[in-house]
Point group: C2
Chain length 505, copies 2
Amino acid sequence: MTLIDQYTSQYGPMSKIDAFGYMRYLKEHPEEARKHGKIVMVTADTPLKASRGEGKTTTTIALIDALRARGIDAAAVLRQPSMGITAAGSKGGASGGGKASLTHAELVDWGLCGEMGAIEAAQNLLVSFAEKAVDEGRLDTILVPRVSEVPSRSLRAIAVDRGKGDIPERVVLTPTCELMQIVVLSRSMDEIGERVAAMIAGTKKGAPVTFGSFIDLWRITNILVDAVKPARTQTRQGSPVYIHCGPFANVSLGIPSLVSVEMACALHDVVVVEAGYGADAGAQKWLDIACREYGAQWPSTAVVVSRATTWRDDPTLSWRYQFHVQRLEELDIPTFPLINLWDGEDDQIESLRATAKDAEFRDPVIGNLFRDGGDALVDQLDGFVDALQHGSAPAQPHSHRGMSLVENAKWIAEHAYGVPADRVLLKDGFVESLSHAETLCAALGLSLDDLSFVAVKSPATMTDNDSAPEDQRTVTLKKVEVHAGAGLVQVNLTTSLTTPMPKIV
Amino acid sequence: MTLIDQYTSQYGPMSKIDAFGYMRYLKEHPEEARKHGKIVMVTADTPLKASRGEGKTTTTIALIDALRARGIDAAAVLRQPSMGITAAGSKGGASGGGKASLTHAELVDWGLCGEMGAIEAAQNLLVSFAEKAVDEGRLDTILVPRVSEVPSRSLRAIAVDRGKGDIPERVVLTPTCELMQIVVLSRSMDEIGERVAAMIAGTKKGAPVTFGSFIDLWRITNILVDAVKPARTQTRQGSPVYIHCGPFANVSLGIPSLVSVEMACALHDVVVVEAGYGADAGAQKWLDIACREYGAQWPSTAVVVSRATTWRDDPTLSWRYQFHVQRLEELDIPTFPLINLWDGEDDQIESLRATAKDAEFRDPVIGNLFRDGGDALVDQLDGFVDALQHGSAPAQPHSHRGMSLVENAKWIAEHAYGVPADRVLLKDGFVESLSHAETLCAALGLSLDDLSFVAVKSPATMTDNDSAPEDQRTVTLKKVEVHAGAGLVQVNLTTSLTTPMPKIV
């Protein structure tokens, strides 16, 4: 029995791994054999619509199958798709497709091993405890939202205790809640407990009150015992795949749990991490939150997925793909365009290569991954593997802790969205929202500027109007919300509406 | 590999069984070796408070351990406790205690394998689809409630789409919802699909609209794939225990799934089924709903659990225990009092036996089951085992289909609560509620009188005032709600308030 087997239990056709326990063991036993895998980040062009994927998961699966076919011990770490959105028919699943699929895609898409349900119950229990605290006079206003994995537009704004208190509340999607962020970012159950304790439950006479001041933390961590364990499954070709946490980079983090990635790096030479929606969302968050602020590993290479049609569907938006690739290259991440062909597009390979050459990209990787899976890629990866194996050591990025929130927003606008600082605008009410967040933090002995910046925006846009000419694009800052437990400050950006609780479409 | 092993998968320290598949195989292969176990129903005195258990689960565990120590192949079927209520601290878990415990009680109490979360997601998705149907003009009023496993008093009445529609809604506890009832009562996934299709989503111009008229049923059944599988675990002494569905007999069924009990009967000679809260709730429902209307097996013997103190704590309520035992005996079910002693009560055994003798009960079984587990019982079960092995064949009860709802209520009041028909009262508004339910059913081509009657009441009372003298006790009928998919009509009884969504205490 190998070491990892001792931390692994079967759960139906999947297995689940006590990643916290395994990583703790490795830390306490530095002599233990382990790998130090490099990270490949798979991200994508900004999608034209939130419901339309470019094929990140399909690519991730095909890529590890192709790497393994070349004799490289590669594995993938995927995010758990939101079953609610899939079940509602608002979006397909997120478990690949065709030959680039998982062996049990149906389980991944339909609730995995109950992880999301457990996080939902735990976050909702926090709200119930906050409600009890109101009854007991500890709180007068609840700030933490209830959650639902199932989308329902009429839950965006609700009133509870109808006919009596008529208290306004909101409900957000489970995968976007602070407790999910805490599970994504924490490296032990103790850390989860500490972060839950630091969550702001609400206020009493304007002063913030944290959950640690009035709840038994074990009631929350007990619910999460299995939810913190990454699931392990495999591709149809037999390549190892870990799945844990975190879709919805538009309104949250959009990355798998840090511990699942670190565990995979201890077990494999190459770990392909899925980050999305587009590079402006999931990749920005992997780099600027996970790596810069939470010690995750900087990618050794990146792949930016697009469909062949994306550049044609809306020519005024075609600048975005080029921008993403250049941005990552400027960060010293060798970045490979990958064009995920659909049926009937094989004859476009020549013109796609020409387009990539004009853009001064590296040689693009092109294939019909649904139809051919990793076989489409295996012979095209010489340059990719060379960059991965012989590139310089990953960067150690500087933290932005202490940078003011607006400066941080301007930095992100410039670096991740291509909008200079003087075109970052503050919407009416933003300054008040910022000031309120600063006051909340100050009352807790925190500086707002020490929290990591989470952009909250439409997945389909990076600026107030991506179709505008470059010199007219702006980014408007709208609203600030503190997630003190997760260590994040969420900032609503751009004039595009986010859909915190989509209707079923 | 045995036949049942082929239908069993490991889920962490538990396993889960495809009971639908196993039972279908047995039906299609009548030559296959199987058992035809007898059923023992473990129920209890009506509790003094909902939060205070008498020890049904502890008794069930000790009883099978004792039966197995006597060489009898016994197993238990337990209901999954509500994690929300346990996590909130409103009630202990429901997985036994002390020596009469399960090997992984913590998993049972804290969400098992995600079954409740899946049922919650599926029922809430139905509401979201109903909401979409409102947008599309198919519905104007939604009748199916949202659910939450986590209790929260302010969710009893909410308004959604605040500031726009301000639509009144209610939220009920997940274990009490119609979809949970459907999972409890169905014997195949096809049956679940048919029952979901028959659920009333809401009304359009007063006429009922069922989910089958506008949703893809596979979206619901896919969510339930694992939730329909009973979990298998064991007692600390190694006795087999199955766990599946259904707490809260006060407002719902309070019995484990029928398929889990039938599977256990095919695998073991004696199957102990837990039904509660008290005999007026879970036992009444096992007998009058599961057996009478859904073809479940009539118990061969029953055990009615009480604490030694129950008769003393409130002398005006002590009639209830005697009533329950006599009622079951009159149904030709040999019924054994079981007194679950607490520490310091060993010296009361003599007086408890005397009390039982005065009441003309069978010899009571008495023990400190937390401390001694099945060891406390093993030498006391001669009479019980004799009745179980040599009693007459279980009854084939007559259906009440076609009996009018009020006649059915009077029958239950008389037989299960000891209140004669002329003291069954109709509260103002009841007739209108009944008439509305009849109209709904008629519009669907159903007769309300063909639905099974589910009493909805406080777990701690059987009548409007259990402390009143016998000849003054009444039962008031308050409200009617149709669950057309489950085939049930829920009737709120007695003046005691139910708590469809308790606050955290």
